[in-house]
Structures are given as structure tokens and as C-alpha cells.
Amino acid sequence: MDRAELLAGLEGLLYVAGDEGFTKDELAQILEISEEEVEKLVEEYIERCKDTSRGVTIIHTAGHYRMATKKEYIELFRKVYTSNKKRLSSAALEVIAIVAYKQPITRAEIEDIRGTNSENVIRKLVAMSFIKEVGRLDVPGRPILYGTTNDFLDYFNLSSIEELPELAEDVERETEEKDLYDSMTKIKITE
């Protein structure tokens, strides 16, 4: 890969990784360059992002490189959050959906499925009594198990949790695979 392609690769990788980011050696392995070259590449990317027409940059925290919005543009989000509350619902809906379908479930499991830290969202949903502690998992650390509340059912106009729409995995389990995915079994018919 030439310099431009490496920069592009770095940008794409850090974009998709989002808040999770990548460590220097992960990037080195993926881009097939040395860690020193990764450092230089990141420096060059940051340099390019200093242009006023760029709204993101790379930050280096806790051993990870992460793409991040420049400070001044984060303020734009205050407007987003205050004008359009639906925007806030996305993370909340994801967590509620996971809890609703997979309850009882621990925070670690929710985070594994979502692929991102969800502590803040879970805390807010508990405060809003959409989800609640329903027990503890019997493993070291005894993590909290979460489940949905009656407020959740009320909000979504459900009389019970059984009324949730069925999941694709349930349909698949119930019906034969052949209806849903093309079967590859070939049979020769000779007339």
C-alpha cells in the first residue's frame, strides 16, 4: 500500500471502530507496517485534520487510537439533543430491545452484543424505570441481571412480554431452513 492508501485505510478503520479504537500494534498488523510507521501515519493524519474544513481528528487515549469529533463541533450535538429527542432513543432502544428479548441479562452481555460500553445508557434506563435489577448472576462478582419493568410494557402497549414481535431466529427455528435460504442440494433427474 502506498502512503495515500495507508492514510485511507487508517481513516476507514478508525471510523468503523468508533469509540473502541485500535491499539498501535493492531493497526500495525492490519496495515502490515511497523509500529513506528503507524505512529508516523497517525501524526500525518492528525496534521491533515488541522485543516479548518475537517471536523474530526485522532486522539490517543488508554493505549488506543480513536477517531473523534473536534471539540468545537461537539457543541453542535447540544442542539441535536435538545431539538430532537428521538436522537437519544437510538442507544436506549437498542439496550431496551436486548434486555426485552434476552432477559435476564448482565451488563457485560449487553455490551458484548452491542459492541460498546453501555453503562451510561443502562443507568439512565434504570432511572427511568424501563429496566430494573431482577437478580444476580451466580458467578464471581455477582453481576446484576436486568429485566424489563411494567412501565416498559405500558410504554409499548404490551400486556405481557410474550406480545413482543417474534425474532427472525425464532421464525427460522420454527420453519424449515429451505423456505428461507436457497438449498444447494442438487438432484439429477433422468427421463
Binding site: 476507514g12 471510523y15 468503523v16 471502530a17 468508533g18 469509540d19 473502541e20 500494534d25 493492531e26 498488523q29 492490519i30 461537539i74 450535538f77 447540544r78 439533543y81 435538545t82 429527542k85 428521538k86 437519544l88 432513543s89 437510538s90 442507544a91 436506549a92 432502544l93 437498542e94 431496551i96 430491545a97 436486548i98 426485552a100 428479548y101 452484543i113 452491542r114 459492541g115 460498546t116 451510561n120 445508557v121 439512565k124 432511572a127 427511568m128 424501563f130 410504554y155 409499548f156 402497549n157 404490551l158 413482543l164 414481535p165 425474532l167 427472525a168 429451505k178 436457497d182 438449498s183 444447494m184 442440494t185 442438487k186 438432484i187 439429477k188 433427474i189 433422468t190 427421463e191
Partner: protein
């Protein structure tokens, strides 16, 4: 005649009929229903011979095809009773159904292409800035969402989970030598003179790292760089960094 057939290749009787018409290289408009009926029945017989279950809807179409065929053989006058004269000729109707179905079947490739195209673009999970911007819990509301939005959110998570699960396993964990670990620990002890053994480790510690660390600590103790002590059995082990003076006293 030899057919290479996939049992489930047909999306129903109309699909099979279309396939046969296409095989015979005829236009739907010019199809001779009598001829195609024979091929359709041959096909079903072949399936039967192989003891394959034939869905009733295939047999229903077979019956319909036979009806059309027999109808053509009857004198026209018999069909001119009131009930039927208002209805479309069944053969024409069948051709119309086939044409309509084939139009949708043709457009399937467009959806396939679009499905493949979209996979070339990866997107990330939305970042949550509500903490950073100190958005209050009371503003953290769900608005205008229904149960379908909930299902959609679940599917979004699932899709991301299957598509975007980083293959971290492909990335080999970095190995560290005892010498490197000694250097790391020496740097650490210079800033913190006394700490517990368990404090040395960050999250996601591997067994290998624990072993290397233990060896490094023994090595450092041997050279009187640090001193270990433990109040009682199974209690935390304390590591104390010895400065030059103390080191000489121990030496």
C-alpha cells in the same frame, strides 16, 4: 432428456412452469399450454419416482393445466354458457399470471445487486455524547417509538454483531520477555514506591503475563531492587521499592 434439478430451486408452481417455458425457449405469449402441460406433468412424475414430496400447490396447477388442455379439446359451443362467457379465457389468464410473476422474478436480480453493493460500505455504531454534554436523565426520553422500532433496534444490533464483530483473534497477543517486564516494572516502581502485587496488572491480563511478571519480580528481589512482604498467608503481597541506600543495607 436429463434435467439438473434443485428440489427447492423453484419458488412454487408458477416458477417451475416458467422454468419449463424458458427451457423450451418459447415466449409466454406463444406457449402452447397443451405441450407445456405434458412437460410439467413429466417433471412431477420424475419427482414422484424419486419419492420427493410434491407440495399440493404443484398438483393444483397440474389440475388447472389439464383443465385448460381439456377445455381446448371440447367443442366451443359447450363453453358458451353464461357463467363462463364473462370470464377471461383461462389460458390467457394463465399467461397473464405468468407474465406478471416473471416481471417480479426479473427484478429480484436488482435487489440482489443492491444487497451486495450495500455490503461494501461499513458504518459505525452511533457515539453516545449524552454524558459528555451532561444531558440529564429526564431529557433522555423515548419519543414517537413503537414496538416495531424496538424490533428494528434489535435487528440493527444483531446485524452489527454479525458484520462488525472485529476478528480480534486474528491479531496475536504481544509476547513480552522477562527482561522487558523488569524494565516496565522498574519504571512503575520509581513512581510508586510501594504497591500491592495485584495492582501491577491492568485489565485483560493473560496467564502468560502473570508468569512473566512473577519471574520478573523474583529477579528484581534477588538483585535487591525491591523487597516483598506478606502479612499473613493468602493476603496481598506488598512490593516495596528499595532506593540506593536501602539496597546497600540489604546487599
Amino acid at each position: 432428456m436429463e434435467y439438473l434439478v434443485t428440489i427447492d430451486a423453484f419458488q412454487g408452481p408458477l416458477d417451475l412452469l416458467l422454468y419449463l417455458i424458458k427451457e423450451a425457449r418459447i415466449d409466454i405469449d406463444n406457449v402452447n399450454v397443451s405441450e407445456i402441460t405434458q412437460q410439467y406433468l413429466d417433471y412431477l412424475h420424475a419427482m414422484e419416482d424419486l419419492n420427493l414430496e410434491i407440495a399440493s400447490e404443484y398438483l393444483r396447477l397440474a389440475a388447472y393445466l389439464i383443465y385448460i388442455k381439456s377445455r381446448k379439446m371440447l367443442p366451443q359451443s359447450n363453453l358458451d354458457d353464461e357463467n363462463i362467457s364473462y370470464e377471461e379465457n383461462p389460458e390467457e389468464q394463465l399467461k397473464r399470471r405468468l407474465k406478471l410473476y416473471s416481471i417480479f422474478k426479473d427484478v429480484v436480480s436488482f435487489f440482489q445487486e443492491q444487497e451486495t453493493e450495500r455490503e461494501n460500505y461499513l458504518t459505525k455504531i452511533p457515539s453516545d455524547l449524552s454524558e459528555e454534554l451532561k444531558i440529564e436523565t429526564k431529557d433522555f426520553l423515548l419519543q414517537d417509538v413503537d414496538i416495531y422500532d424496538l424490533l428494528s433496534a434489535y435487528n440493527r444490533v444483531l446485524k452489527r454483531y454479525s458484520l462488525h464483530k472485529p476478528i480480534k483473534t486474528k491479531i496475536k497477543p504481544q509476547t513480552i520477555t522477562i527482561d522487558e517486564r523488569i524494565q516496565e516494572l522498574s519504571d512503575l516502581f520509581r513512581t510508586r514506591k510501594k504497591l500491592r502485587f495485584t495492582e501491577i496488572f491492568e485489565e485483560n491480563v493473560t496467564k502468560e503475563l502473570i508468569v512473566v511478571t512473577f519471574m520478573a519480580i523474583l529477579e528484581l528481589t534477588k538483585h535487591h531492587v525491591i523487597r516483598l512482604h506478606q502479612d499473613t498467608l493468602f493476603q496481598d503481597i506488598y512490593i516495596e521499592y528499595l532506593d540506593e541506600e536501602m539496597r546497600e543495607a540489604h546487599g
